[in-house]
Symmetry: C2
Subunit: 243 residues, 2 copies
Amino acid sequence: MSPLHQIQIILVEPSHSGNVGSAARAMKTMGLTNLRLVSERTDLLDEQAVALAAGATSVLESAERFSSFEQAIADCQLVIGTSARLRHLQNSLLEPRQCGETAVQHASQGKVALVFGRERVGLTNAELLKCQYHLHIPTNADYGSLNLAMAVQIVCYEVRMAWLALQEMPQNSPLADYPNQEALTHFFNHTERLYTALGFIRNDAVMPKLRRLYQRAKLETNELNLLRGMLTAVEKQLEKPRH
Amino acid sequence: MSPLHQIQIILVEPSHSGNVGSAARAMKTMGLTNLRLVSERTDLLDEQAVALAAGATSVLESAERFSSFEQAIADCQLVIGTSARLRHLQNSLLEPRQCGETAVQHASQGKVALVFGRERVGLTNAELLKCQYHLHIPTNADYGSLNLAMAVQIVCYEVRMAWLALQEMPQNSPLADYPNQEALTHFFNHTERLYTALGFIRNDAVMPKLRRLYQRAKLETNELNLLRGMLTAVEKQLEKPRH
């Protein structure tokens, strides 16, 4: 199953049916089809919604209804909640690009919920606490009032971009495994030790440059093992007696 | 002047005033304020436009009117045109992310036009030929009918992301200098020679991994020089006589 079909767009108590229709159209243009509505209202899929959905009425027709936030996210392995006021949630904050990447990565393992709150007041604190990650769209500080369907459009766009990037990766290659911080520290210490012994590192300027380079590259585990193997190869040669 | 103020969003003959209002709101949430309308119609800034602009009516109020596409782009140094049917324009195609980066880069030198065509038929071929670059939003092949204001939202979002990335770069540091392909080839050959001599490289599997890593990292010239210095340091040590 395509990862895109694992992703659920959840709108919590939207006020305007037009936003529901526009969100459906935004989703379908990016290849997403699963819409969930948390609402007791029966008029959210009215004529206005259908008109604004344009060619995406199929998304409205297949939309699932839930009477609570908990029920809407119950079968999802990953829940990402969106809100404008998230500054206190530093540790779990994602920008839209990371959100798209995270959603697509997790979609191979299970359902992913991308949750959008009420137009005026967003998600409640209780709802935000039930999300593993929190999405912050970095809007203009002077005017950050993004329309609900526009927020859905940006997030669905980033999901699609992450999905397209995944398609372009070589087929059948397992997802990369990344080293933890301890393994990276060992690698940097190993490098510093060896090149100090070689007389190449004589001041504090070299290691920060190497750290910056390899952190930017987001070293994969097999690459880290390769680089450590190269360090060890140099060490072994240095220890050999010369002819 | 902030690069964002150099960027002009140009709507060519929009049909629906609501899209003009929504586009204004989309722009302002991302910090863009310059809207240009190519249209003879006098009803494009009607009540519907004002209602959908929400807190961005200032963008509508300062919108500039032009009676032709040529006049609207006359003072712009860079013109990027958007359209859904661009497959034949391979050489000048940009995706939204590259479009944001290109627009922000050029905005330090002059005005940049991001042009959006008519809702149903987009830009004419004659108009597209007057654009240096062409923006293609990679929508769902089964349903790519992105609303005009949604397209504006995605592009303005990518402009903002590129601008924010620029803000995060260290102040006063010159833009990084990147090595050419020849310098990279020298580095890879140097690495292969040394580690083959060390007995570490014994097959064809190692170099493609290293190439992939360093190409992904987009090595800067000073980093390449550092890595080559490390190779030379190892070589020198190997040549030294042992005690």
